[in-house]
């Protein structure tokens, strides 16, 4: 189990990005992490994978651990070796390397099983398989996302942390990405899925968290989150009443208050 406990993260000694966040990613599950821009989703991933240092950030309170083992002082490359891999927001493929070279870099910690992992990734992403020697920078956004995910799968990780994989992608591509996540998960990889696209994330997740200005405000099974009025309103774009449920007026005041809190 990968987990964060009462995590507090500060950037540049002053910017408080996480204010006591707790979250758990059990083996083999899909956990969705939702939240508006600036809520602290990426910061949480960085805390889990040792990347805070790069951004002048540090954990000031709480802990991150893998099977109870403290990860706070573990450098990013060691976190990868332990089977926890993050796909950065914005894909970040190595644009001047070919598709296959990108995948080989992905296998940096697992060279011995590179050949079999290559085959597995190519069968997971046939679009990549067809153009192995193409320069990655020429791929479309969706294809680059696939490459970024395929690259992370090159060490057959135990946990895959995806930071907004659907960002800027057309609906069909979002569906394709979602299907791949399900397939990756079905072979036993635990997934922490950070998303703004709540309907996509909650449709496949087992459990979900909602963050808001550095705190977890909801922590529920995905099905319950899907039914939650606030989630429906702010993340699924559905308004109470629209959906035929008709319980609108008497909750308006409360919604207004929450809305203010959520968009702060």
């Amino acid at each position: 189990m990968l987990s964060a406990r009462n995590l507090e993260v500060v950037y540049d000694d002053v910017v408080l990005a996480l204010r006591g966040v707790s979250l758990e990613v059990p083996d083999g599950r899909i956990v969705a992490l939702l939240g508006a821009n600036g809520a602290g989703k990426t910061s949480l991933l960085r805390a889990l994978t040792g990347l805070l240092d790069v951004h002048e950030g540090e954990i000031t309170k709480g802990s991150v651990s893998l099977d109870g083992e403290d990860l706070r002082r573990t450098p990013p490359e060691a976190v990868v070796r332990k089977g926890v891999r993050q796909v950065l927001e914005g894909r970040r493929v190595f644009v001047e390397l070919s598709i296959e070279e990108n995948l080989k870099v992905g296998a940096h910690t697992a060279r011995a099983s590179m050949a079999e992992n290559l085959e597995r990734v190519y069968s997971l992403f046939p679009v990549l398989s067809d153009r192995r020697s193409l320069t990655a920078g020429y791929l479309s956004g969706g294809e680059q996302q696939m490459l970024a995910m395929g690259r992370a799968m090159m060490s057959n990780p135990r946990y895959l942390l995806l930071d907004e994989p659907s960002l800027g992608l057309a609906p069909l591509m979002v569906e394709a990405i979602r299907d791949v996540i399900v397939e990756i998960n079905s072979t036993g990889t635990g997934v922490l899925l950070v998303e703004q696209n709540a309907s996509m994330a909650l449709s496949i997740a087992h459990h979900g968290y909602v963050m808001e200005t550095g705190r977890v405000v909801l922590d529920k099974p995905a099905a319950e989150l899907l039914a939650d009025d606030d989630v429906r309103e702010f993340y699924l774009g559905l308004h109470p009443g629209e959906d035929g449920s008709g319980r609108k007026s008497f909750r308006d005041a409360k919604h207004y208050r929450r809305k203010k809190r959520w968009s702060a």
């Binding site: 450098p75 490359e77 990868v80 190595f94 001047e96 080989k104 870099v105 940096h108 910690t109």
Partner: protein, 303 residues
């Protein structure tokens, strides 16, 4: 015509050594975004180590073997020295302004040269190159053996580097880290390791370059100045391009040799040292046409 071609061969010989030096600068620059001014000291150290190893080894196997073998060992020793410098003086400075780190490398350069000078003595130390200034006739051209040795050795080293960067795990990791450090970290690449490796490779290349340059007049305290010619070479080729470093080095070598050969004949009023200025003049001319060098990318600075 043969005067011209002989000058070109001479230029390609020294130019290939400039290419090695330039490669060292570019490899460190691509990995760490810092121009390391410690390269001259590493070059001098390598040449000095070779000059001690060759006589210690005596005559082994065949003519030239002890020289080449010594150069290889000197490259390894100098790479280790570079590793040490990186670990002790450069790594703690990660995150500081690039300019500050560059100045630190300048300080290291001076410090290392002061120490190494003690092993050189006042005059020139012979490097133990078996053919000295001997000449041979190749395809009707009268050329120095050492220029052919330079070309051959450098061709071999560059081929090895090519395979290292194309095929090997660490070569690939270095290319990836040069493109996006944070993304490389999420692949399990240790960026500190990449820094160290870049210094080690640059140190090894500098040692080979220094040993080859000293095949003519031996190692003296002024040898390090030659390493500075690599600066116009990398700017000419494009600061972030390995191909550019090689082409830039060769171009500058040839330009220098041609100016040295013809200037006295056609423009004697310019004086005796124009060949030394030729690299910089060529650099200026290229920069006027291509501001990022021949192979450089416009956005050398990535975020």
């Amino acid at each position: 015509m043969s005067t011209f071609l002989e000058a070109v061969v001479r230029g390609l010989g020294t130019g290939s050594v400039y290419a090695l030096l330039a490669l060292g600068f570019v490899i460190i620059y691509k990995a760490t975004s810092v121009i390391s001014f410690a390269q001259p000291a590493l070059m001098l150290s390598g040449a000095v180590v070779t000059s001690y190893l060759v006589p210690a080894m005596g005559v082994l196997l065949f003519t030239g073997f002890s020289f080449f073998f010594s150069v290889a060992i000197a490259a390894i020793i100098t790479a280790a020295l570079a590793l040490l410098i990186e670990r002790l003086a450069i790594r703690p400075m990660v995150g500081k302004a690039v300019f500050v780190v560059a100045i630190i490398t300048l300080g290291i350069d001076i410090a290392v040269r002061v120490v190494v000078n003690g092993f050189i003595g006042l005059g020139a130390r012979p490097i133990g190159f078996p053919w000295g200034l001997d000449r041979v006739t190749v395809l009707g051209l009268d050329v120095q053996i050492r220029h052919l040795v330079m070309m051959g050795t450098v061709a071999l080293v560059i081929t090895a580097l090519y395979f290292f960067f194309q095929r090997s795990k660490y070569g690939l990791a270095m290319r990836a880290a040069a493109l996006d450090q944070e993304a490389a970290m999420t692949m399990g690449v240790s960026v500190g390791g990449v820094f160290a490796l870049s210094w080690a490779i640059a140190g090894g290349l500098a040692a080979i370059a220094g040993s080859l340059l000293a095949t003519g007049a031996g190692v003296d305290r002024q040898l390090w100045i030659v390493a500075l010619v690599a600066l116009p070479a990398i700017i000419l080729g494009g600061l972030d391009s390995l191909e550019g470093a090689v082409i830039g080095g060769l171009l500058i070598g040839v330009a220098e040799a041609l100016v040295g050969t013809y200037q006295r004949q056609y423009a004697p009023w310019l004086g005796d040292n124009v060949a030394l200025v030729a690299p910089y003049a060529l650099m200026l001319a290229v920069l006027l046409v291509r501001p990022y060098g021949i192979f450089g990318t416009a956005e050398v600075r990535r975020v």
